[in-house]
């Protein structure tokens, strides 16, 4: 009996012997952008037309899908397929797509949607489909005022981007920059703000005072920037929502290169007196000023790490301008750049893993990134003159400005905003009405 029991026990233990299976390592794939089909959104019958700036927007569903398409194309991670090849009507595709048809045009993902516009409301619903697995990945609906329709398109782009890449998007954001007009020798500089795709430009100052280096708060819609008052640069604060602006402190010397701390409660900046500049912070609630560095060299362009524990800045204390990292109280200072040339305008990535910088070497300007310990330096782009990188809120894209060479009379000069992603391959100019410089990217407007 015992034997029989043992036999049965062993029978079950080894009855299904693990068949030897083969392991194959796949260590390569293609880095081609993901083919995605964005079907025009279906507009429900009876929907009202949307009027914006005196113009009637004819087919809101198509416009929304176009904005998503442009966003994805610019990101470099997606390849939106041409709409001519789409065979299924938007309304049917939104209900239940025929995946075989979409597979035929090599789409791997599909975005469909439906728009309903009533008197004071626009309701937009979208679905993201995995064409290959023939299943739905995400479905959401948004309700807002009709004038916000562009933002809805950006929010949908963010949601799809997040679902397909695993990281937060950056489409529902704004960029503040300095709009420039006039001859090179006599430039008028105004503060301007626009959506990240270049739409909805608004000018915030009149252009009678020179403005420089606007920087967004990572927490809210506050902006700090530099403006000249009686020929002295001063740091200002501007609330974009209310339009209220104020000067930050009243110092005897020059204040410049302001930037917010990650919690938005402090401003870190340079303060120059008698030819020596050091780094200071100011608490925005208590207005208490604290000196962080104390050195006879020029310390400037400070930027916090996203956890607020460290500060990177550039200094010429070694003789040439280089980047340094220290604790937020000024201790434990370390030089991190040792390469040839000059390094400046360090900006810590919102992800914390990289520091972006401008490098000048052999009279050429480079925008690059490196790890916070100075290792892994990668130069992303090279040009005649370019500087001031600013990170997208997800730490994947950098925006900066580039100037062209001009002749002795200042002709042929232009300044344009450009973006480049971390791969260094996806470099694009952002169309603006006027010339632009010193861009700064906002955080996501909605989370």
């Amino acid at each position: 009996m015992k034997k029989l029991l043992l036999f049965i026990f062993y029978f079950f233990l080894f009855a299904n012997p693990t068949s030897a299976f083969i392991e194959v390592d796949i260590t390569r794939g293609n880095l081609d952008p993901l083919p995605i089909a964005i079907s025009p959104f279906y507009v429900e019958p009876g929907s009202k037309d949307i009027q914006q700036d005196g113009k009637i927007i004819q087919n809101i569903g198509e416009e929304i899908s176009k904005i998503i398409e442009v966003n994805f194309k610019r990101s470099g991670l997606f390849n939106p397929l041409k709409k001519d090849a789409f065979v299924q009507n938007p309304d049917i595709a939104h209900a239940k797509p025929r995946f075989e048809d979409w597979k035929l045009i090599k789409a791997q993902a599909l975005v469909t949607g439906k728009v309903t516009v009533s008197e004071d409301k626009i309701r937009t619903e979208f679905r993201l489909w995995d064409v290959v697995a023939a299943k739905e990945m995400i479905a959401l609906a948004f309700s807002t005022t009709p004038n916000n329709w562009r933002r809805v398109a950006h929010i949908i782009s963010d949601k799809v981007y997040q679902r397909l890449t695993g990281e937060e998007g950056y489409f529902d954001t704004r960029i503040i920059y300095v709009s420039e007009t006039g001859e090179k020798t006599q430039r008028f500089k105004k503060l301007a703000i626009m959506d990240q795709d270049g739409a909805n430009v608004k000018y915030l100052t009149l252009g009678n005072e020179l403005v420089l280096t606007p920087r967004f708060s990572p927490k809210n819609q506050l902006v700090t920037y530099l403006s000249y008052f009686r020929n002295l640069p001063r740091v200002y604060l501007l609330d974009i929502e209310t339009g209220v602006q104020e000067v930050v402190g009243d110092f005897a010397g020059m204040t410049f290169a302001p930037r917010f701390s990650p919690d938005g409660k402090k401003i870190i900046m340079s303060f120059a007196q008698d030819g020596n500049s050091d780094i200071y912070t100011m608490n925005l609630t208590t207005r208490v000023v604290e000196k962080i560095t104390e050195h006879s060299a020029i310390d400037t362009s400070p930027s916090y790490s996203p956890d607020g524990k460290y500060i990177c800045f550039n200094s010429d204390r070694s003789g040439l301008q280089q980047i340094y990292v220290m604790r937020s109280d000024g201790s434990n200072m370390k030089r991190i750049t040792f390469g040839k040339g000059l390094y400046g305008t360090p900006v810590w990535s919102p992800r914390g893993d990289l520091i972006a910088f401008t490098k000048v070497y052999n009279n050429r300007f480079y925008i690059g990134v490196m790890r916070p310990d100075g290792s892994g330096e990668r130069l992303l782009t090279e040009n005649f003159y370019q500087e001031a990188p600013s990170w997208s809120p997800n730490g994947r894209v950098l925006i900066f400005y580039r100037e062209t060479k001009s002749d002795s009379q200042g002709k042929g000069f232009s300044a344009k905003l450009w973006s480049i992603d971390l791969t260094g391959y996806n470099e694009r100019m952002i169309e603006t009405e006027t010339d632009g410089s010193d861009p700064s990217w906002s955080s996501l407007l909605s989370k």
């Binding site: 299904n16 068949s19 194959v24 679902r163």
Partner: protein, 269 residues
């Protein structure tokens, strides 16, 4: 008493066998997917994840040691070394071994370097004339096998070459096919472990009967959202690629296939 225990055992066995046989049949019927899903459906195959019994592992290690003694100087890599049937490759191991092999495709200089490194790598590897023979002409496989036996290789060694399943050219054909289908999500955090293991049960024509992500628990962990995206991209690659380029014969050898998708190599540097 004995009789009743015996009867009970017989009936229980019958029940278990019946369930085991009928369950896969039920699973074959296509499931109509509900309209809104936010959860990934994963089919759990009836084969366990344990590749070998501990005893087999010991034998394999012995064989490996034996093989190391027969090292020669100018040979292609031994296929036994490439596939590690006895263990699941840790990401660090993969990194160590293949760091030099795969680089960005855009840089032609790098590719040259890669070729050089491959040949250096090969020198250190085991030389097995039988495999060259097998590579050149599959029809010579049999005679090669006989030769192998003559060269005082143990019986278990022959078994290993059976276990490793695909010849280099077969494996390369499969790899090349999947390389082309796999669109890597570019936003992955490159300092994380980016290894996705997918187990497949194939049909004789190379189409996929079942697919399973082995570390699927990681997909729903907080802060690992990228892993879900990566796993989905790997699964998509396999589905786009099917039917997979498998050898026309020897279905039993390759019907169970594990693909280890490792994105770390691609995204580094």
């Amino acid at each position: 008493m004995t009789r009743s225990i015996f009867l009970s055992l017989v009936f229980h066995t019958a029940m278990i066998v019946l369930t085991a046989l009928s369950l896969p049949l039920m699973m074959k019927t296509p499931i109509d997917l509900p309209p809104i899903i936010s959860v990934e459906l994963i089919e759990i195959s009836d084969i366990t994840n344990i590749p070998f019994a501990p005893k087999a592992r010991e034998t394999l290690e012995k064989i490996k040691k034996e093989e190391e003694r027969v090292v020669s100087e100018q040979a292609p890599p031994a296929k036994i070394k490439k596939e590690k049937p006895d263990r699941i490759p840790l990401p660090e191991d993969l990194n160590k071994e293949k760091k030099k092999l795969v680089k960005k495709k855009q840089n032609p200089e790098e590719i040259k370097k890669q070729i050089r490194q491959v040949s250096e790598f090969e020198k250190k590897e085991l030389f097995d004339p039988n495999q060259i023979a097998a590579l050149i002409d599959k029809s010579k496989k049999e005679s090669a096998d006989t030769l192998k036996k003559n060269q005082k290789l143990t019986q278990s060694n022959v078994k290993t070459s059976f276990v490793s399943g695909l010849t280099l050219s077969e494996e390369d054909a499969l790899k090349a096919q999947i390389f082309g289908c796999w669109s890597l999500p570019l936003g992955l955090p490159y300092q994380e472990n980016l290894l996705v293991r997918i187990k497949l049960r194939l049909q004789p024509d190379g189409t996929i009967l079942k697919s399973e992500i082995l570390d699927h628990a990681r997909m729903n962990k907080p802060g690992q959202g990228f892993y879900r995206v990566l796993a989905e991209s790997a699964l998509r690659a396999v589905r786009i690629c099917q039917p997979l380029r498998v050898p026309p014969a020897g279905y039993d050898r390759w019907k169970d296939l594990q693909l280890n998708f490792n994105a770390n190599e691609m995204l580094k540097g």
